[in-house]
Subunit: 336 residues, 2 copies
């Protein structure tokens, strides 16, 4: 069923809902969140087992995580003809607009293979086949150029900047991930891109490399002076730090019985964070704290199984319960 309502409506999705249309095309919904990131194949080896080629990529994790909070999101990416249409259908069923995912029929999907060390904190890359990602030029669909929230998954800083430049209106909040690789080979581009964003999401090692100092508090000051008003430093099993103006928030990480596969945890965290904010009625430091707990809770699920498996199993109730565990984990009162 194709509905053609070619009038300029402020809330076409509400109209569609009122008409009880079960499925309505992305271009008739007001997108709240757009994300750019790889949609890929991964082959993962951990101390607990190994996988064949499974679906991965920053974009996949970001979109799946955000879908727990926001139904109006657009994912911008590229895959080859070998990529399973079922997964795109699965994303679409979760409200993800996949019209921004270019399918290059005659090419192959990005493929990464890695082996984690015993402590799961470090890994060796075994194979990187860029394939379609080699000349990825993301195109933001028209209907996603006015989103309030933009998440830039880990890609070259130049590509990330090109996405920002395609926005028709400046999003309320632009967040971005990056990695030490870009600091090594494209530091100037990286510094240019982060001038244009609001939230930088990196890990502690990356924060130290980017700032040149060891103290994370000092690093936060130096990095925030480079552009992003807000810095999130991910510390894996040690939680995450949120810095904004004079405020600091320390989000704990849930001590898990077992971390099965850390792949995608950082992207899941970022997707949960931005999804939560995109759905929140207000945007301030308190909301950002909650968003970090949301991202942390989703990341804590992500690592329980290989790849996206666990994120595809859990429901809203599981997530709410996990977020309550974070409350129990970190709540204390100085007065009895």
């Amino acid at each position: 069923m194709v509905v053609r309502i070619r009038v300029h409506l402020k809330h076409p999705n509400l109209i569609a809902k009122a008409l009880k249309l079960p499925i309505f095309a992305a271009q008739f919904r007001i997108m709240k969140l757009a994300a750019v990131g790889s949609v890929a194949f991964d082959a993962i080896e951990t101390p607990f087992g190994k996988t064949d080629k499974i679906v991965g990529g920053a974009g996949s994790y970001i979109a799946l995580a955000a879908s727990f909070f926001v139904k109006e999101q657009s994912l911008i990416s590229v895959v080859g003809g070998d990529f399973p249409k079922e997964f795109l259908g699965l994303l679409a069923a979760k409200g993800v607009d996949v019209s921004g995912i270019e399918v290059k029929k005659d090419e192959k999907t990005f493929f990464w293979s890695g082996r984690y060390h015993t402590d799961l904190n470090s890994r060796d890359t075994l194979i990187t086949e860029l394939n379609v990602l080699a000349d990825f030029k993301p195109v933001v669909p028209t209907h996603a150029q006015n989103v309030g929230f933009l998440m830039l998954g880990n890609l070259s800083p130049a590509i990330q900047l090109s996405v920002i430049q395609q926005m028709a209106t400046r999003p309320q909040l632009i967040a971005m991930d990056t990695m030490n690789f870009w600091m090594d080979i494209a530091l100037d581009e990286l510094k240019e891109t982060i001038k244009h964003i609001d939230v930088l999401i990196i890990n502690d090692e990356e924060a130290r490399q980017l700032s040149g100092v060891y103290s994370l508090r000092k690093a936060a000051g130096i990095i925030r002076a480079m552009g992003p008003a807000i810095l999130i430093i991910k510390k894996g099993e040690h939680g995450a730090l949120l810095f904004h103006e004079a405020n600091v928030f320390y989000a704990p990480a849930l001590p898990l019985e077992e971390v099965f596969d850390p792949t995608g945890a950082g992207d899941t965290f970022a997707g949960g964070f931005m999804g939560y904010l995109a759905a929140a009625p207000t945007l301030n430091f308190e909301t950002m704290k909650r968003a970090i707990i949301a991202g942390s809770a989703l990341a804590s699920f992500c690592v329980e199984k290989f790849g996206t498996e666990r994120l595809l199993e859990i429901n809203q109730e599981d997530l709410q319960q996990r977020m309550q565990e974070f409350v129990a984990l970190s709540t204390f009162q100085l007065e009895a």
Copy 2:
């Protein structure tokens, strides 16, 4: 002035207070906390500078930290004739009963010298002169054999056990620190000693070594099955975890502009924890959480200057303010 009140009083300290005696001998006060630990000389080198021989040792840090909360504590240790009497006087002025610190006039005080690496997370020991500590046989003074709280600083497990065995009545709470060194050379004794305690306070690396597993949550289960009902895992700049029954608490660490000298931070944490509990009206999981925040706050001061310097500068108001910073750092509400 020596006051001799040789009657059996339930609250001799109250009597002494009522008599407005400005100084009253330790044996007439009811001790709440006893601690055993080294009182020593340290020479420390960090990326920020180096010290001559300064006063250090687990016992010194424990007693100073605990003194912020409890005025009735007894420190059991040993020093040589070269140890400055001024420091013992300084402890006494803070309510620490130093009658359990044996002074071996003709011997030398334990001396440790170390150099921290740039990240301050690892260090090389340059010199260890056991001196008086070589044949340390702690003697618990009679007036400290009925304390409610006993803190066993890092010493050989056999020495720690000998202290427990000297108690006339079983303390309400026995806490103990140890280190990987004892796991390497005296694991059986260590396992015997921890059967008799309530709280084991170790760092993450030590918890992994003692349990043989990487997951701290699993490690907690294994270690708690060895004896201590309560386990605290210190993670340095990443905070601390408290495990008791099915409860877990994640205490954050304050992200500091600069860690100047980490020496004594762990002992300060333990001393603050036990001092807080010894002064608290009740002992339960909620009180223990607060006690961990108290210990963390004191440890965050400790690292700001060399040795015990910062602990000797700060006052109650500084401490209260720092503890409030921990509230601000970790408080969030899932609902707006």
